[in-house]
């Protein structure tokens, strides 16, 4: 008993360490990736001075931020001011506790799954951590004792709370289809192909080549999730909380050095979280469109998962490079008057369809 408990503990600690390190490196890479892609979309070169293709630019930036003086405004609430970036980063990292990355692997006779914990309410956990991230932003804005951060924090709380509703509502049809809140179960439910589509008649056979992914069942929910997800991460064109041109950076205006870096890290972690959620819930997770190559074993599903996540990361960057920021009232209008009713409608429609098919 104690032996297996010890082994489990070691495995879990090792997994936590690996996930933490991989995510940190991933964020550094994504920052570089974003700068490079946006630059080329604007006919520029982007970072190219440090390392091959400028890959080490983010590392250099991170080092710079670590050695910069952390300035605290005299009007700031010191304790909260110091705590806020920690809350942001903690919530962003904790969301990954229940996100599975792939199948499983045998290490020394111990079967280790690619996730830290397979919670039966895994989806709920991720959403809850996403909500906690609001605290980091709001507290940072309030405790800075400065008007721009305060405005940014207020905007952000309103925005993130409104879009969280649409985000969560858009996921319920998927949960209904899979019959579980466990992300691993939801991915398993998406394996295989759709099969013959009856109402298409003679061409219904194409269904045998279409993977059984929920995006083909819940496309409206997927689009709502994507829009709400971009808003939830405070990314352009919904970056009203930061809004460099209006709010001088928004809630993190007064932050510098390592504390600023923590907000930065949290923002990019959220991008990865939302991308991973989109992949897990709508794009079949680590299920590829090709049969698994037995030679590659667990690597093949992992590659599929990473490739899909990177597609969404690219989408985030692409949107940022293309679209201007929405006006605040427009943002709220889209959230409350379009996305939430649309999500509710799709929830009812898919519920009725399921009831009809039973």
């Amino acid at each position: 008993m104690s032996m297996t408990f010890l082994a489990d503990l070691v495995v879990i600690l090792a997994k936590i360490l690996i996930v933490f390190l991989v995510l940190s490196v991933l964020v550094i890479f994504i920052v570089w990736f974003e700068r490079k892609v946006v630059a080329h979309m604007q006919s520029r070169l982007g970072p190219n001075r440090w390392g091959p293709f400028g890959l080490l630019t983010s590392v250099a930036d991170g080092m710079k931020l670590m050695f910069k003086e952390p300035i605290t405004p005299i009007t700031a609430d010191h304790v909260t001011f110091a705590l806020a970036p920690g809350i942001s980063m903690l919530a962003a990292f904790l969301a990954f506790a229940s996100i599975p990355f792939g199948t499983s692997v045998l290490i020394f006779g111990h079967r280790a799954t690619f996730e830290i914990a397979d919670l039966n309410v895994g989806l709920l956990w991720v959403l809850a951590m996403g909500s906690l991230a609001v605290y980091g932003v709001v507290l940072a804005g309030w405790s800075s004792g400065s008007k721009y951060p305060l405005l940014g924090g207020i905007r952000s709380s309103a925005q993130m709370i409104s879009y969280e509703i649409a985000l969560s509502l858009s996921l319920i049809p998927v949960v209904m289809s899979a019959g579980s809140l466990s992300l691993r179960t939801i991915v398993h439910a998406q394996s295989g192909v759709i099969g013959s589509i009856g109402w298409l008649g003679p061409v219904g056979g194409v269904g045998k080549f279409i993977p059984h992914w929920y995006i083909f069942y819940h496309l409206p929910a997927f689009l709502i999730f994507l829009l709400a997800g971009v808003a939830e991460t405070n990314r352009p064109p919904f970056d009203l909380a930061e809004a460099d041109t209006e709010l001088v950076g928004g809630y993190h205006t007064e932050y510098s050095g390592i504390k600023f870096a923590m907000f930065f890290l949290a923002e990019y972690l959220h991008v990865v979280t939302i991308s991973a959620l989109a992949v897990l819930l709508f794009l079949g997770g680590w299920n590829g469109v090709t049969p698994n190559l037995p030679v590659l074993g667990w690597i093949w599903p992992l590659l599929w998962f990473v490739a899909k996540v990177f597609f969404f990361v690219f989408l985030f960057v692409w949107l940022r490079a293309t679209l201007p920021r929405l006006r605040y009232d427009k943002l709220m209008a889209v959230g409350w008057r379009v996305l939430i009713p649309a999500a509710l409608t799709w929830l009812v429609v898919s519920g009725l369809a399921m009831a009809g098919s039973v």
Partner: protein, 266 residues
């Protein structure tokens, strides 16, 4: 106060989606295009022939300075950037052909606006503007250029000489003008003026992909073997890639010239 903005036009969801898709397509297309960035310290842009860069004080063919210390440039300067103090030439110390020369000649590049009025004011064409444009510095003092920094080591070639014209060689602006005229005449159906003797059957239209004036410059230089063509300031730019923009004649190695990197950075 009531909102006086015109009512917003609602695009409707379909049009809005199409517009967003169009925008996304534009950025995606640019992802595969070649960036237009010029990597400045390593790559340089060739300025246009009449680019107004840092000034150079010219010399006569015999080495005497063209500047006669008349201070007309200083008078013309709207930014009050030029300081000239003239002095008398003596038989023992002769600097310029006339009576006077510039004992002190300073241009303050913190003030200069590169308008070129000084060049226009110069009665002896002593003051010209080169193609050197990287005039940044970390000290104010080093941006006040003194006479020994501004003066050319050898006479600059900037206009086609009479011999060139006599040989039928058109350089720079003259050539472009003539070619334009010839093209216009051809389009109007009027007879073209016969090519001047010695032009070597050069086509009347400017060579594609080559900066105007390059070919003629190279030809005439090789034909005459003229050693004086070290710099062409107005009109014909130097051949691309062979000379740095704003190159001046190689500096005298014995004389200390602290701002050479400003003149010929490579």
């Amino acid at each position: 106060m009531p909102d006086e903005r015109p009512p917003e036009k609602d695009l409707g969801p379909l049009r809005a989606t199409v517009n967003v898709a169009k925008g996304l397509w534009v950025t995606l297309r640019h992802l595969w295009r070649r960036p237009i960035t010029i990597q400045y310290p390593e790559q340089r842009r060739e300025p246009f022939p009449r680019f107004k860069g840092r000034h150079v004080l010219d010399r006569h063919e015999d080495g005497l300075e063209k500047c006669i210390g008349c201070e007309l440039c200083a008078g013309a300067c709207p930014a009050d950037a030029i300081l000239v103090i003239g002095a008398e030439n003596t038989p023992e110390a002769r600097y310029s052909p006339g009576e006077r020369y510039a004992k002190v000649y300073e241009i303050n590049y913190l003030r200069c606006i590169f308008c070129g009025l000084c060049v226009e004011a110069c009665p002896t064409e002593a003051l010209v503007m080169s193609h050197a444009y990287d005039l940044a510095s970390d000290s104010r003092d080093s941006l006040i250029f003194t006479k020994d920094m501004l003066i050319a080591d050898a006479p600059l070639q900037r206009r086609p000489s009479k011999e060139d014209l006599a040989a039928g060689e058109d350089v720079g602006d003259f050539r472009i003008l003539k070619e334009g005229l010839a093209r216009a005449r051809a389009e109007l159906g009027k007879p073209q003026r016969p090519a001047p003797p010695g032009a070597g059957g050069r086509p009347p239209a400017p060579e594609e992909g080559r900066p105007a004036g390059t070919a003629s410059l190279g030809q005439s230089a090789s034909a005459e073997g003229s050693p004086k063509r070290t710099e062409v300031l107005e009109g014909a730019p130097p051949a691309r890639g062979t000379q740095a923009p704003g190159d001046v004649p190689p500096p005298d190695p014995s004389a200390p010239r602290p701002t050479d990197e400003n003149i010929s950075p490579r």
